[in-house]
């Protein structure tokens, strides 16, 4: 078997084991919370009798271990079950929201990744001179702002001072692609601001590290322009560290943007998850947790594969 293929298969198998472990940890976490789903649904109106009835109805009286394996067995058969709180089919509820999550993350990634790498290359090219300082300063500023502050600032600037966009990012099925793009413009801007600095700084650092190598001097002595030296000779050797940081940020764009979703009223997975954690709705939390974990694991496998692909020593053994 080709070494790269072998590695991917190994990682995938490991990823499945990890997912199983994650599901157990999520289950334990929910169990450890005070109260249960019945209490969360009934709230102040709970009486001993109504609680007992609801628990019976939701199957909460079974031992924890039984409930976990019942869930696991169904999940392995592709049945994520229904939400305990409102009886809605989880797969359906998640499907549309996950689409929204991916759309937002995708838009932010398409802008931020090329921008961050370009800015990183430019900053490395002008290391220590004014373009480097301006880029570093600006990206540091944007990453230093908490997300919600950045969000309100962007809303104020682009809906009040310059009324270009809508402050609320409402999307619904049947919207045209362009209307959707227009709707997510503001949250995308905020997310780009948040993830830009990390990727940009890693690109710059990785390039500057490679620039110490003897083969960079060779390239300079060939009479290449500084940008040719960086692009042709430094960048191919800096891919591995850059990719790992880019992937980390992509994962964040998928799983970590609940604050931005809330500020812009964007109906996506993060909000959905937080709502159901407060209600102790185990099947929903499990399902969303599994998706987030799978995204993380999948992206990290991708990062490994790209890093190996970028290294000719591994791609072309002697």
């Amino acid at each position: 078997m080709h070494p790269v293929l072998k590695l991917v298969v190994q990682r995938l198998a490991l990823g499945l084991v990890l997912l199983l472990a994650v599901s157990a940890v999520i289950f334990l976490g929910i169990e450890a919370l005070p109260g249960d789903t019945a209490q969360a649904i009934l709230g102040q109106a709970a009486t001993e009798v109504s609680l007992a009835n609801l628990r019976e109805k939701l199957g909460l009286n079974e031992p924890a271990l039984t409930r976990y394996f019942v869930w696991l067995w169904a999940a392995l058969h592709g049945d994520l079950g229904v939400a305990l709180t409102n009886g809605v089919d989880i797969a359906t509820a998640i499907g549309q929201r996950f689409g929204n999550t991916l759309f937002l993350a995708g838009c932010a990634a398409v802008i931020s990744v090329p921008l961050a790498i370009t800015l990183g290359l430019v900053a490395a090219r002008y290391n220590g001179r004014w373009p480097d300082k301006v880029i570093s300063g600006l990206t540091l500023t944007t990453i230093s702002l908490p997300e919600f502050v950045a969000a309100y600032f962007v809303i104020f600037l682009l809906t009040q001072v310059f009324p270009i966009f809508q402050p609320v990012a409402m999307v619904f099925p049947g919207m045209s692609f362009w209307a959707k793009l227009n709707a997510v413009a503001l949250p995308v801007i905020v997310l780009v601001m948040v993830v830009l600095a990390h990727m940009m700084r890693m690109t710059r650092a990785a390039i500057l590290n490679v620039m110490q190598s003897a083969y960079i001097e060779t390239a300079e002595l060939k009479g290449l322009t500084p940008m040719q030296v960086i692009w042709r000779h430094a960048f191919p050797n800096a891919i591995a560290p850059i990719v790992s940081v880019v992937i980390l940020n992509l994962a964040y764009l998928v799983v970590g943007v609940v604050v931005v979703e809330v500020v812009f009223g964007y109906n996506a997975l993060g909000q959905y998850l937080v709502d159901h954690v407060t209600k102790r709705d185990l099947p929903v939390v499990q399902a969303v947790g599994m998706i987030f974990a799978a995204v993380y694991i999948g992206l990290n496998i991708l990062a490994d594969v790209i890093s190996i692909g970028a290294n000719p020593r591994l791609r072309h053994p002697k």
């Binding site: 001097e217 060779t218 002595l221 060939k222 290449l224 040719q228 000779h233 000719p312 002697k318």
Partner: protein, 544 residues
């Protein structure tokens, strides 16, 4: 008078160094050097490290490595002043008029790109040729330089070919854009002696066939004598002597040049004795996780107070033999007897006395010392560990040892960073002597040093041997060093001892094939030596 291609006039090059814990220091690297290179001729730049040869070489491309600044004088290339040229002007000349071959091609090739892309890059980015012409020329050059499978050689990545092949590929890279001048910066120094001669012959042939001019930088006068038309001897950034190769080699005018020419003049009468201090019997060893023996059935003896030289190329197993004797790599089979007792194969099974009597000195003195300890602490440690010396007694003994290595007072509180390369190696010798050993293993101890400094170290080692009756196991790839110091010699090749005996026997004909190749590959300081050897080998292979 031939046309002048490159001329340095009163060149001055400076840099600022930042020694740790001290204010920045201004240093003059090259001071008032004037020399010219004619079209199609080869100028050899020779000197020890710090002489400014590489700095001058790179200045022919108006390039200063690190913070090096070209501060004065003129650099005229094809009649143009290039020292003060702007960035665009420099890019136009680098790679087009002047190209560069570095000491370590392995580090100078981009590991992420195929060799062909890198070899033709200059020709294409300067618009000198189209891609197919450049590739055709590259293949021609690969063939000319004797690279295997020239048609497909360029499709490989740098890590897929050997060091000697990469060095030739870098020469092809330098010649591909048809430059006027190539700078060869110690192109064969990092290679094994048998590889060096092949690369040297390939470079010489390429220079002759393309008619390119060259600056050939090296610390090895015997090497430069084979390729250069003229030689400039440098010391401390200043010109010592300039002349034709013939005059510099056969009739040097300056004392310093004479010292360079006559280096390795140590006469060492061979001793012979039957008694063995160290006896390595049928030792076989392999590294964990590998499936081949790095040492195969090695048997050698060393008498007390004598020197056994282990000679061979990189990968021949000489350093592994040292690791096996010290116990760092336990032998799989065979027996090592030392001072009448059988040594445990594993380091952990050895007594403190075993450890004390068997000391080691390494090639890189730099990395063999803790940079945060003073010379006194470094030498004092074995005194404490083996003899329990403390306070004034210890300090007195350290000073004695410093006197023995001819370093005298004032060094005891210095840090390694404040010492020169030769002084660092002397401190390592003193540390080994401090344990009063019966045997010191010297692993390429002079390889990283300049010839004159190395000479001093060898003389010191011989004197110490006479005084303290210590035996040396001397590992080296350098035949000249072996001649200077050995009593007995073992020639190693691919993990086996192929020739073993007293120096006078091993270094006298009839030779086995490998020893013959090894001995005949060592550059000799006379004109036409390279041609003679190459012609001799061609005759042989034609005769076969």
């Amino acid at each position: 008078m031939a046309e002048i291609l490159l001329e340095f006039k009163d060149l001055r090059i400076e840099a600022t160094s930042y020694p740790p814990g001290e204010p920045p220091r201004h240093v003059v690297l090259v001071d008032g050097v004037s020399v010219a290179v004619e079209k199609g001729k080869v100028l050899g730049l020779i000197g020890e490290s710090g002489a400014g040869k590489s700095t001058i070489g790179l200045s022919a491309m108006a390039f200063g490595r690190g913070g090096v600044r070209l501060t004065g004088g003129q650099i005229l290339l094809n009649g143009r002043e290039i020292r003060t040229a702007d960035a665009a002007g420099l890019r136009a000349l680098r790679g087009r008029e002047v190209t560069y071959v570095s000491q370590s091609a392995a580090a100078s090739f981009n590991p992420a790109r195929r060799i062909m892309e890198q070899v033709i890059e200059t020709s294409i980015s300067h618009g000198l040729m189209n891609k197919s012409d450049a590739e055709a020329r590259a293949v021609d050059l690969f063939r000319q330089l004797g690279l295997p499978k020239p048609e497909s050689f360029g499709t490989r990545y740098p890590h897929q070919v050997s060091g000697g092949q990469l060095q030739r590929a870098m020469t092809a890279m330098a010649l591909c854009p048809k430059p006027d001048l190539v700078i060869f910066d110690e192109p064969t120094t990092a290679l094994d002696v048998t590889t060096q001669i092949e690369v040297l012959a390939a470079i010489k042939l390429a220079i002759v066939q393309t008619g390119v001019a060259a600056l050939y930088i090296t610390h090895d006068l015997a090497v430069v004598a084979q390729v250069a038309d003229h030689i400039l001897v440098l010391r401390g950034g200043k010109k010592v002597e300039y002349g034709t190769t013939d005059q510099i080699i056969n009739d040097p005018r300056e004392d310093y040049t004479r010292a360079l020419v006559s280096v390795r003049s140590i006469e060492h009468a061979e001793k012979s004795e039957a008694r063995a201090l160290l006896s390595v019997a049928s030792v076989t060893a392999r590294y964990r996780g590998t499936d081949f023996d790095v040492l195969k059935n090695v048997t050698v003896d060393l008498a007390p107070g004598q020197t056994l030289a282990i000679v061979g190329e990189s990968g021949s197993g000489k350093s592994t033999l040292a690791r096996v004797i010290t116990g760092l790599l336990p032998a799989a089979q065979g027996r090592i007897t030392f001072a009448g007792r059988v040594l445990s194969p594993d380091l952990l099974g050895r007594s403190k006395e075993d450890l004390r009597e068997l000391q080691m000195i390494y090639q890189m003195a730099d990395t063999a010392m803790n940079p945060r300890q003073t010379v006194g602490t470094i030498i004092g440690r074995p005194l404490e560990f083996y003899f329990g010396l403390k306070g004034e007694a210890k300090r007195q003994r350290i000073q004695e040892l410093l006197d023995q290595i001819e370093m005298g007072k004032g060094y005891i509180d210095r840090y390694p960073a404040e010492l020169s390369g030769g002084q660092k190696q002397r401190v390592c010798i003193a540390r080994a002597l401090a344990a009063k050993p019966k045997l010191i293993i010297c692993d390429e101890v002079t390889s990283a040093l300049d010839p004159l400094v190395a000479d001093g170290i060898l003389k010191l080692l011989l004197n110490l041997q006479a005084e303290a009756q210590v035996a040396y196991l001397f590992i080296t790839h350098d035949i000249a060093t072996v001649r200077a110091i050995a009593d007995r010699i073992a020639v190693m090749f691919k993990g086996q001892v192929v020739r073993y005996g007293q120096k006078s026997d091993v270094l006298a004909p009839p030779y086995d094939d490998y020893t013959d190749l090894l001995l005949s590959s060592v550059p000799e300081m006379k004109l036409g030596w390279l041609e003679g050897v190459i012609a001799g080998r061609k005759m042989e292979s034609a005769g076969n």
